[in-house]
Structures are given as structure tokens and as C-alpha cells.
């Protein structure tokens, strides 16, 4: 009997809403999200409350250990810069670089990999050719060659460069999984229903690879923050006296034994950032995966 039963407005959720509900059920994930929000708040608001600016040098207190009395809670650097202000300044950049690079490189990997794997044939060969080419190109060398072009421009160019050279391996993995997914019955069912290719990739292929993509993105956040340091040596992007978390850590490690505060706080903030992102990633992964216990109603 096909009697119509009127559903209440909220009874049928779309997948997006269901994933949100499942995500917020996960305490650690919510904690991670809160933590990341706090880090953003700290990075962008706290410097305004602090009495020292990041580029302000306090010649009375050079290499001072953390102390409440002189107002340098995190201590000072060799030339009297306030470590707290520097760390926050670095955090501003590193947060944005880390998250944006992870987002773009994983996103690019997902779209290129899934398209190559799903469409197969000529598209696959062309995309694979590009991926292989990028893989064999020495990316650091290329960036070094290109660096004069970007000198003096915004450090956001970094994000583009880091993302552009970091997606290929993931894309190859995604392609492999997509190739096996396209043979599955639910994808064939969607094709026979007349669902357009673009929607099949976004609705069926990518959600089924989401666990891998989320892990990849999570790892990329930490990776991007650190490899940004490496690129700084090549003389562009975040340049001294400006700082990033990576450059703070790199400089601070030289005197790690004698003046641990120089890198310890930056290091701990980095760990905290990566930890929060991991929690969020775990929560998202469980929210996407119906088999995971994390997102189920208790």
C-alpha cells in the first residue's frame, strides 16, 4: 500500500547534514575544531593585546628566558625580539600556508586522480603524463630558478608552489582506487540512471576515497609548514626579518640546548596545530565512513 506518509521537515537528511551530525557527535573532533579556532584567535588577536610587537626589539632583555616580570612570557631572541610576538606572527603565516596547501594539494590530487581513474582512456594517459612529468622534475630546482620572478611578491605564491609540487603521488593512488571503483555496481547503476560524469565523480567516487584523502590532507598540513622553511632558504617567500613557525624552529634548534625557549614554544604550537588538524581529520573520516564507530549515535 503506497499510502503517503508525510515526513517531518527534518527527518530525511542529506548526506552533508548527516556527516555534520556525525562529526559533531565525535568529542575529539569537536575538541580539535575548537583548538584550531583558538589557535587562529591566538594568532590574529593576541598580538594586538601584547605590549610587544613582533618587529620591536627590547635591547634591555636580550636572550631573556621566559619571565612574567619583564613581560616576555616566552622569553626573547638574541636581538631582543619578543618570542611570543614572533611565534604568533609565525603562526599566522604557517596556519594559512599549512591549511591552504593541504586543501589545494589534496583537492588537486583528488580531482585529477579521480578523473584519470574514472574516465580512463585518453584523459587518463594525458593526466598521467603530466603527473609523471611533475614527479621527475626536481621541484626545488625549479622553484629556485623561478624565485627571481616572485621576489618581493606576496608569500602566498608559496602556497601555490607548495601545492603544485605536492599532489602527484596522492593523485596516482587516487587514480588506482578510482579505477577499481568505476567497475563497481553502484557506479554502473548511476551511469545507467543517467547521472552526469562530473556528479558521479563527486557523489560516488570521491566519498569512497575520502578516508585516504583526509589522511593525506592531515599529513600535508604539517608537511607544508615544515617544507616552507626549506624553501625560505632559497630566498623567497617568508623572508627575515619576517618569520614563520618553520623558520623559528629552524633557527631555534641551533641553540636548543642553551636557549630552549627559542624553538620550544614554536615547536609546541606546531605540534598543537597538527594535533588539532589530526583530530578534525579523524572526526571527518569517521563521519564519512558509515562503518566507523566514532560517528554512530551512542
Amino acid at each position: 500500500m503506497a499510502t503517503k506518509v508525510k515526513l517531518e521537515q527534518d527527518e530525511t537528511f542529506s548526506r552533508g547534514k548527516l556527516i555534520r551530525v556525525r562529526f559533531f557527535r565525535n568529542k575529539l573532533a569537536v575538541f580539535g575544531l575548537f583548538g584550531l579556532a583558538m589557535l587562529f584567535f591566538l594568532a590574529f588577536v593576541a598580538p594586538h593585546l601584547d605590549k610587544f610587537k613582533w618587529d620591536q626589539l627590547d635591547f634591555d632583555n636580550m636572550l631573556s628566558p621566559p619571565s612574567l616580570s619583564n613581560g616576555h612570557w616566552f622569553g626573547t631572541s638574541q636581538i631582543g625580539g619578543d618570542t611570543f610576538a614572533l611565534t604568533m606572527r609565525g603562526l599566522q603565516k604557517s596556519l594559512i600556508i599549512g591549511l591552504l596547501v593541504a586543501f589545494f594539494s589534496t583537492g588537486l590530487a583528488a580531482i585529477v586522480g579521480a578523473s584519470a581513474g574514472y574516465l580512463a582512456g585518453r584523459t587518463d594517459r594525458a593526466l598521467m603524463w603530466v603527473i609523471d612529468l611533475l614527479l621527475v622534475l626536481p621541484s626545488f630546482l625549479l622553484i629556485a630558478v623561478l624565485s627571481p620572478l616572485y621576489r618581493g611578491k606576496t608569500w602566498l605564491v608559496f602556497v601555490v608552489l607548495l601545492a603544485a609540487f605536492g599532489w602527484m603521488i596522492t593523485a596516482r593512488i587516487v587514480r588506482g582506487i578510482s579505477m577499481s571503483l568505476r567497475e563497481r555496481d553502484f557506479v554502473r547503476a548511476a551511469i545507467y540512471m543517467g547521472v552526469p560524469t562530473r556528479l558521479i565523480i563527486f557523489r560516488h567516487i570521491l566519498p569512497n576515497i575520502s578516508s585516504l584523502l583526509i589522511i593525506d590532507a592531515t599529513l600535508n598540513v604539517g608537511g607544508a609548514i615544515l617544507s616552507e622553511t626549506g624553501l625560505s632558504y632559497l630566498g623567497f617567500g617568508v623572508q627575515p626579518p619576517d618569520v614563520s613557525l618553520g623558520s623559528l624552529i629552524a633557527e631555534g634548534t641551533n641553540d636548543a640546548m642553551a636557549y630552549p625557549w627559542l624553538f620550544l614554544f614554536a615547536g609546541m604550537i606546531l605540534i598543537l596545530t597538527v594535533l588539532c588538524v589530526s583530530f578534525i581529520g579523524d572526526g571527518l573520516r569517521d563521519a564519512f565512513d558509515p562503518g566507523a564507530t566514532g560517528g554512530q549515535a551512542k
Binding site: 506518509v5 508525510k6 515526513l7 548526506r15 563497481r184 555496481d185 553502484f186 547503476a189 543517467g194 560516488h204
Partner: protein, 684 residues
């Protein structure tokens, strides 16, 4: 124990097996007591997860280490469960041998089969290498492998599925065991090959005199082979007794339901299938009372409170059932009205109806390529080789054949809706070769598919509500319309609309297939393509889905193109049947007539190979066992594709035999349809 016999070879007493799992311990086997008697065939029947395989694995000591086992398995007065793995090895393969379901993974791919059988002989017997080799040839001959001398030097991949299973049987009987455990020995095989393998198994039994434990879900196989059967449900034996008695007078509601829910190839017109409500009990959270009580129409309070023990039935000494109401139930059986029955199947006779699907001489070949760098075509696989079909509106046409005959390729060709390699596809009056992209999309609305495996056909990461709405979304329905249609569809297929937010993993196989059907029906299609829609489901939920399909066809005047290898299911659901062999159709006609009086020798052999779940009928009929297996479609035989396996050709005079092997028969009118045979059966 009430059923204890003096001639018991193996006595299983109070066997319980539990597996730890994330969601709690899985009680795979619960207090099973069973006797395996010398020289008998004991059938253990149950659905997936009923504990039938675990029972047999426990007997031979092959359970994983994580299993917690209690109880006793007594053989010659020794408890096999107490033995170490090394001590058990003395019995395994010599006294108790096992035949596995999948012979491909049970045989070592890098050793010749002769070597593997000889290995089994040399371990348990003190004989020379050359004597062992001689014995190997004898064994291969016993199980019916042609040219055993040569074949002993072949590797497993050089054998077909049926031949591999024969090798497994040879391996199992090598040391003349007292007990042969066969775990779903024919499930992975086609019916005609299944008949061959069961024959080989019977022959092996006659020669060695071993007791056989036949673990299966197929009531038909049990009816033909077993002397006694034990029916398992949720890890417990719920009924046990001589095969004739259990089939004739089942005492446990589960058995009754099962017997009435299995479609039979010899069913009369107007027969109905009883459907058991619900889905098989999960072995994780078993109820306190009878595990079947939640699905049992005769359940009362007493069934919910206490787990009934297996007790002897007063009227017969060897027949036992585990049901609290066994006395009343046996009275109910006579009326056959314990379970709700689906609609009677009445073939529709609608001659004036329009054609929804027309295939004319459809062909599809796949290239055979060779070489890694210079790829060149070395031949073709003739997957579909000239198929012509007509399906009228409101009717269901079944495409029947064994695996590899090209039925799935035919389906895919139809669903692709593009110009075929050769021939024509016309769906609802539109030729697939000439329609525009827009028309093709519009046509998809009327043509939908239900796949075989509901676990693969639903996206595990999409809530079922969204999966069902996907076709609606594609064709631009508004959000409110989608929602209304969703609840309508869920009710139509017998699911709760409140469950739309759940993921497929929260549903059982039968429920998932209902979801897949709901999705296919979303756009009110005219033609539904069903690719083996029940073969992946548990026996007890098949009838429910079949009844649903029959009901929907009547209500929505759908046309079904039904693809199946299961002739009993076809008999129940289809009006017209087309039998396919090696890429082409050999016989068509109305199901009832074709099945009663097949014209093509292949149809006849296929029908005779299907086991009927009734021991008296099954044992009383003569069976045509075909020679060999389906040839490769890359290299089809000349003339009639079937000529080298044909049972009719063998008795023909020489000149007529030559006609079969040289001239390919075309479809021509037969008594009740069309047949492609030079010498159809009815014509003689």
C-alpha cells in the same frame, strides 16, 4: 542424548564455538550435538551465518586460534578438540578429509595436481614414490578426469572449475577416509557441472564407503544426496532427521517456511511462495528465547522466554526438532498456512501488447590481444553471437544460461543504449543506434536495472534515502517531490520510511535488495532489467523479494527482463524464457511449456540438472549428465555450438551427426516457441 546410535563414527556433543569481535562475541555454534554415522550422507543445511561451516571446521580442527571452543568431538573414543594441531594432523586427511567450496584457493597453484595428491598419500601411507604416482592416476580416474595419466602433470589453473572440484574429491579420498566433510562443494559451479560433481562425489562414496557430511544451503542438493539432514539456524540445530521425513513432515516452523519458500522448477501453475518475514538472526545479539521466534508466525510467549532444546518427536524415533510448540505445529503444517504467501504466478497472456524491447541479431565480440609493447589482435571472444529477443509490455522474459554464456554482456549492451557492433537494439520503439543524446537520457528514465549483489550495487557511503533519490535528482525533481516519492517508494518495497537516513551497512541483504528495487522504481520505469536479483540473497529471504517483484509487476504493469542461472526462480517469475548457450539463444517460448516439454537437448539437460527440493521426486527421476563443460567463447565449436556435449547427437546416425558439427542451426518454429536445433526433441 536421545539420538545416540551405536554406529556413530563421530559424535559431536554440546559443541559451542564463539568468536570475539568488535561488536561483542559471535556465538557461531551453540550446543550442537550430532552423530556422523558410518556410510551415511548427512546434510547440514543452513543459511549464511548459521554455523554450518564452523561446525564442520571444528570437527576437523581447522578453526582459527581466536575461536573459543567447548564441548566434545569424539572419534574412536578420543576427543578431537583436546588434541594439539600436530596430533590432529594424523587424523586430518587420513581419517577425516575435507572438500572445500572454492577449489581454486584450496589447491596450490605452483604444484602439479599429481604432486599434491601424491603428497597426501606419502604423508599418511608408507608407500614408495612410484606406487603413490600410480595411485594418483587411479584416483583421478575414479573421479572422472579424462586422460588421468597426462592430467596428473597439469597445474590447477589448467583445469576448469568442475574439474578442479573433482581433483579436490580425489585428494580427499586419497587415504580412504572414514569421514568426508564437503563444505558447499558445488556452490561455485554451474548446474550442469554441479550434477557431474555430485555424481563424482556419490561414486567416491560408493568406492570408499566413507560417511559424507554435506554442508550446503541448497535444499535440492540435500534432497538428492543425503540420508539424514540437520537444519541449522543461528548456530543451533533446529531440526534433524531422516531426509524423507523432514521434507514430508517438517516440525519446526523454520523448516516449514524454508520448504515452502523455495521456488521449484517442477512447480505447477498458480503455485505460491511463502515468505518468511524479517532477515536471518545475527549471531551477535541472540535473543534469550528461540532465535527464530522474532520471524515465526506461530511464536507465543513461551518461545520468547526459553530456548527450546532439540527433542525427539513422539511419532518417529530418529526425528527431532527444537520448538516449544512442536506438537501444535505439526498439526498446522497440513493446512500449509503458517506463513503468508505471495501472489500466485499466472503467466499473462497479453498478445496485443506493444514490444518494450526488441533485439535483432545482436552481436558483441571482445578482442583478444597479445604482446606488451606491440599489441596485436590475435582473435575474438564471441560473447554475444546473434541474439534476437522480444519482450512485450507487462510480461517478464527470462534469459537463462550458465556462466559465460553471454547473458550479462547482452544486458550491458542493452543498458548502454548505443549502437551495437552488429544487429539492433530497440527499446520502447526507439532504436538505440539512431537516438540523440537527449533521447537516450529520456529513455534511461524508462529503463532501470537491479543488480545481483545488493552489497555492491549500493554506495556504502550514501544514506539510502539519498541513493533512492539519486535518479529523481538527476531528472530534476524538486526537494519536496523527492521527499514525498521517497517515503512512497520505501513503503512500496516494504521498508520503514523512517530509516531513510541510515547507511546501507545497517541493512541485511534482503533489505538492501529492496532498496535497490526502490531506487530502480523511482522514476516509474516501464522496463526493469533484473540481473540475478535473488542469487546473492539468503534462501529464507529470497521468496520475500520474489513475491515483491511479482506484486510490483502486477501493480505497476512493469516489464521485466530477468537474467538468471536459477531455473526454479525463472519458473516462478517469468512468462517467457530464452535459453542461452555460448552466446546465442537455443530455445525460446512460454516458461510453463518449455520447462514441461523442452525441445532443445541443452534445455532438457539443464532442466534435468536442477535439483528439486523433494527427496522422493529427486531420487525417482533419471538425470541427464552432460559431458564436459562450456567451451571457451574465444574458440567456439563448429556447427551447432552444443554438438560436442549433446546427448541427443550421440544416438543419431553418422550423417546426421555430421550435420550438427558442420551446419549451424537457425531458430525455427517449434511446438511452443522457437528452437535452434536440427533435430529437436519433440520432432521425433
Amino acid at each position: 542424548m536421545t539420538l545416540s546410535h551405536t554406529d556413530a563414527l563421530i559424535q559431536i556433543r554440546d559443541l559451542s564455538v564463539t568468536f570475539p569481535s568488535e561488536s561483542g562475541s559471535v556465538e557461531a555454534v551453540r550446543n550442537v550435538s550430532l552423530d556422523i554415522r558410518a556410510g551415511e550422507v548427512l546434510g547440514i543445511v543452513g543459511e549464511s551465518g548459521s554455523g554450518k561451516s564452523v561446525t564442520s571446521l571444528a570437527t576437523i580442527g581447522l578453526l582459527p586460534d581466536s575461536a573459543r571452543v567447548s564441548g566434545e568431538v569424539l572419534y574412536n573414543g578420543k576427543n578431537l578438540l583436546k588434541l594439539t594441531d600436530e596430533e590432529m594432523s594424523q587424523y586430518r586427511g587420513s581419517d577425516i578429509a575435507m572438500i572445500f567450496q572454492d577449489p581454486l584457493s584450496a589447491l596450490n597453484p605452483v604444484q602439479t595436481i599429481g604432486h599434491q595428491i601424491a603428497e597426501a598419500l606419502l604423508i599418511h601411507q608408507n608407500i614408495s614414490k612410484s606406487a603413490a604416482d600410480k595411485k594418483v592416476v587411479e584416483l583421478l580416474d575414479v573421479v572422472g578426469i579424462p586422460k588421468p595419466q597426462e592430467r596428473a602433470r597439469s597445474y590447477p589453473h589448467e583445469f576448469s572449475g568442475g574439474m578442479r572440484q573433482r581433483v579436490m574429491i580425489a585428494l580427499a579420498i586419497a587415504n580412504e577416509p572414514k569421514v568426508l566433510l564437503a563444505d558447499e562443494p558445488t556452490t561455485a559451479l554451474d548446474v550442469t557441472v554441479q550434477a557431474q560433481v555430485l555424481d563424482a562425489l556419490k561414486h567416491a562414496r560408493d568406492i570408499t564407503g566413507a560417511a559424507i557430511v554435506l554442508v550446503t544451503h541448497d535444499m535440492g542438493v540435500v534432497a538428492g544426496l543425503a540420508d539424514r539432514i540437520a537444519i541449522m539456524y543461528a548456530g543451533k540445530i533446529v531440526e534433524q532427521g531422516p531426509v524423507n521425513e523432514v521434507f514430508a513432515q517438517p516440525a519446526m516452523p523454520y523448516t516449514i517456511g524454508l520448504l515452502h519458500s523455495i521456488p521449484r522448477v517442477d512447480a505447477k501453475a498458480g503455485s505460491r511462495l511463502a515468505s518468511i518475514p524479517g532477515s536471518p538472526a545475527s549471531p551477535v545479539d541472540l535473543p534469550q528465547g528461540c532465535a527464530f521466534a522474532p520471524r515465526c508466525p506461530a511464536a507465543q510467549d513461551i518461545c520468547l522466554s526459553a530456548n527450546p532444546p532439540l527433542v525427539q518427536i513422539v511419532s518417529s524415533p530418529d526425528h527431532a526438532a527444537a520448538c516449544a510448540r512442536v506438537d501444535q505445529i505439526q498439526g498446522l503444517v497440513a493446512s500449509n498456512k503458517l506463513f503468508e504467501e505471495g501472489p500466485a504466478h499466472s503467466p499473462t497472456k497479453n498478445e496485443s501488447a506493444v514490444n518494450v524491447l526488441e533485439l535483432k541479431d545482436l552481436k558483441k565480440t571482445f578482442p583478444l590481444m597479445k604482446g606488451a609493447i606491440m599489441r596485436r589482435r590475435i582473435g575474438s571472444v564471441f560473447a554475444v553471437d546473434g541474439v534476437s529477443l522480444t519482450l512485450k509490455q507487462g510480461q517478464s522474459l527470462a534469459l537463462v544460461g550458465e556462466s559465460g554464456c553471454g547473458k550479462t554482456t547482452t544486458l550491458i549492451e542493452i543498458l548502454n543504449l548505443v549502437a551495437p557492433e552488429s544487429g539492433s537494439i530497440t527499446v520502447l520503439g526507439k532504436n538505440a543506434a539512431t537516438i540523440s543524446k537527449k533521447e537516450r537520457l529520456a529513455l534511461r528514465k524508462d529503463l532501470q536495472i537491479v543488480f545481483q549483489d545488493p552489497f555492491a550495487s549500493l554506495d556504502a557511503r550514501l544514506p539510502i534515502g539519498e541513493a533512492i533519490c539519486e535518479p529523481l535528482k538527476t531528472f530534476g525533481y524538486s526537494k519536496t517531490d523527492q521527499r514525498a516519492r521517497l517515503s512512497e517508494l520505501l513503503l512500496l518495497v516494504g521498508l520503514n520510511p523512517m530509516h531513510a537516513n541510515r547507511f546501507p551497512s545497517e541493512f541485511s541483504g534482503g533489505q538492501r535488495q529492496r532498496i535497490a528495487i526502490a531506487r530502480a522504481l523511482a522514476l516509474n520505469p516501464k522496463l526493469l532489467v533484473l540481473d540475478e536479483p535473488v542469487s546473492a540473497l539468503d534462501v529464507s529471504v529470497r521468496a520475500g523479494v520474489l513475491n515483491l517483484l511479482a506484486e510490483l509487476q502486477e501493480k505497476l504493469s512493469l516489464s521485466y527482463l530477468f537474467v538468471s542461472h536459477d531455473l526454479a526462480v525463472v519458473q516462478h517469475i517469468a512468462d517467457q524464457v530464452a535459453v542461452m548457450y555460448l552466446g546465442s539463444i537455443v530455445e525460446t517460448g512460454p516458461v510453463a511449456e518449455v520447462f514441461k516439454d523442452p525441445q532443445h537437448p541443452y534445455t532438457q539437460a539443464l532442466l534435468s540438472a536442477v535439483p528439486i527440493p523433494d527427496p522422493i521426486i529427486e531420487r525417482g527421476r533419471s538425470r541427464i549428465v552432460l559431458q564436459g563443460e562450456i567451451p571457451s567463447p574465444a574458440n567456439p565449436p563448429s556447427g551447432c555450438r552444443f554438438h560436442n556435449r549433446c546427448q541427443i547427437r550421440m544416438i543419431l546416425p553418422k550423417d546426421q551427426q555430421d550435420r550438427c558439427s558442420t551446419e549451424r542451426p537457425v531458430m525455427k518454429k517449434s511446438t511452443h516457441g522457437e528452437v535452434a536445433c536440427h533435430f529437436p526433441i519433440g520432432a521425433k
